[in-house]
Amino acid sequence: MTPLLTMRGIVKEFPGVRALDGVDLDVDAGEVHCLLGQNGAGKSTLIKVIAGAHRPDAGEVVLDGTPVSFGSPQAADGAGIATIHQELDLVPALSVAENVMLGHEPSRWGFTRPSDAEALTRALLLRLGHPEIPPRREVGRLSAAGQQVVSMARALARDARLIVMDEPSAVLDPEEVRNLFRVIRELTAEGVAVVYISHRLDEIREVGDRVTVLKDGRTVARDLPARTTPTAEVIRLMTGRSIEYVFPERAAADPAADVVLEVDGLARAGEFAGVSFTVRAGEVVGLAGLVGSGRSEILETVYGARRATAGTVRVRGAALRTGSVPAAVRAGMGLCPEERKSQGLLLHEPVYRNVSLPALARFARAGFMRQDAEIAAAGGVTAQLDVRPADGTRAVRTLSGGNQQKVVLARWLLRGCTVLLLDEPTRGVDVGARSEIYALVRRLAAEGVAVVLVSSEVPEVLGLADRVLVVREGRVVHEAPACDLDEARVLDLVMEGTAHV
């Protein structure tokens, strides 16, 4: 039987990064094909190639025996490929039927025919086992699970033969996941192929047929039976990435150093609960967890950017007012947020103004800025971090990702902080700047700063942190010194914690 989709030697390069370096993938009609790999392994890029959002630089895509080259998502859509993204791309203000038919509304003489659309939608929802969803209901008022069903109905309305699902279970509760699996089984029974991406190995075992594992943009294993491949084997394949970053030497954290940050019983309804940990001066504590595990939410709540529903945060023994960033900053905290551009930077402002932002008062006398002092001080810090180009009056948006990240770090270096919270500090950062950022984090720790690091990249957490907390589904499920853990163990804990590898 010829596979429905065959991909051979797919290569996709971005400036400075080879995201895909020869990926092979075969998907048969009627199967659930699972795609596994760590963050940065190339899964998202591969999906985008399948969906026509990226054009591969090399390699061959064969659909149903015919070589294809999708220049646009519309072309892939026309060929019967649908993608259900993590962030659902529905229009919340439109009805279920309008969303399902979006772009393909049944019409006559240019007038849409809502009754036809509703009838078609009702039939599709019935086929998906969700006759209870009213076609006229506004999509924004449906639950996450309901919205996912609508996305699937939309895929079916286009006669999709291949549906790519990117971590569909991340937003669902167990009951809804069971329902999703039932729908997937019905679809595959009708010959639809599903490419299923998830970090939850138990799901893959339950619903999947075959597994392809990606690492460093390459296929490292294909045709693994989803049900019988041992977890330890899967994790072994995913780990040991070849791109090794140089992690700086670290001195053992002083166990007698003062506790600087104490988090006690911190909780936020619906996000995480019962989070307690302490960080000593000079210690780097890593929070490892999947996207959606609650790790970034924990960090932002510690910082006061989200209001805790329970628990306290203390810096040097003094409790912080909850939900107040200014209070946290006054107490000596600094945060490098997850989304550098939307949460960190004033993109149109010059570098020096981005650096001095939390320390403006220091460069002011009676409210009047002393700009010379400001530029000189900001320039001093950015020079220390080797921000390039060195011109501090350039708009931040003209800098590369790595240099932008250094600008955010420079901000807290200039202000000076006792607790530094880093959320994905190396996302979108090139290899060179990564090593520099690692060295900086260790140097700050050596100088007595307490650092909390959130990262999706397990090697990064293990390489930088003294102690690791593993977060899964809003809870800290494990805490251990980094030296007692290895990549496979952390990955297992992050995903399900059953393999005991």
Partner: protein
Amino acid sequence: MSDHSAAPGVTGTAPGAAPPASAPPASSPPPAVPATDERGRIEKAARAAEPRGSTLGRLLDSGVGRNLGLVAVLVLLCVVGVATADTFATTSNLLTILTSASIIGVITVGVTFVIIGGGIDLSVGKVMALASVWATTVATQSFGPVVMVFCALAVGAGAGLVNGLLIAYGRIVPFIVTLAMLISAQGLAERISGRRSQIVTDPTIAAIATTRLLGIPLLVYIFAAVVAVGWVLLNRTTFGRRTFAIGGNPEAARLAGLDVRRHTIALYVLSGLCCGIAAIMIASLTTTGSSTHGTLYELDAIAAVIIGGTLLTGGRGTLIGSILGVLVFTTITNLFVLNNLETEIQNIAKGVIIVIAVLIQTRARRSSSG
């Protein structure tokens, strides 16, 4: 306004990496270059790094250049004025232009701050009307001119405070809050005045509009003073810096530790204060307090801010541009009056100018940021 972030030294145990908290420029980290040299070097580098693009685009994109464009428009309008009306270039006519620009100009200063800070204030015209009415009731006037001025400022600032609180803590979008304020301020002004114009009987207040210093009306001095204070506040203080920051990226400003909500409130209070000042000016000029004052001033002010090159989305803009925008509009009005043209055509011309100005700015920005 300077206490948003901690005083230096509160975070005391900072790592050696950070420069000493209160270090004067000369002793701050590595480049121990005298500050002036440093700035010269940076400015030189900045010039070298000027965005490429068409000469026109480059010129228009620089802050000064964008203002130069407006100056050119103003000069052009003056040339037209001289050519079409004998009386245009007379001192008395130029002072008339400045005087009629003064009231809307003061309001535009406040609106510029609000828009750069990422908001919008539709209520300015009617808040001014309300302040003018409140300050000219028989009861208020009986307390004398100082109380009248204080009353106008308090009413303006109070309305701004309500706007700010609803926006910052009520989380309602500025457009809706200030639209509601526009409507209710109008209603309140009508209620207090009983829809009648209240005559200003206080001689001191009435004298403001008629007083001249060195031949220039006091109103123009007030206008100039508000602009000067506003310029310094926007460009030379932490308050101005924070305004640009929260307008440019409120989330980044918040996560950098700025108190975004408190600053937002301050911006609307500032706008309200400007309305209070303008209320005294208009009460003096017309010798009345009336609920009909300031109709559509909000649109004139916003239009001036926009053609002055300020982004309606916040974060970028200049006060001088806004003031030039006011002068352009006032000069157009003056030209039409001198030439006995209908006001309908004048409004059409204003609309066209807004569109052309924004088109040019957008093109300039695109060609330079490519």
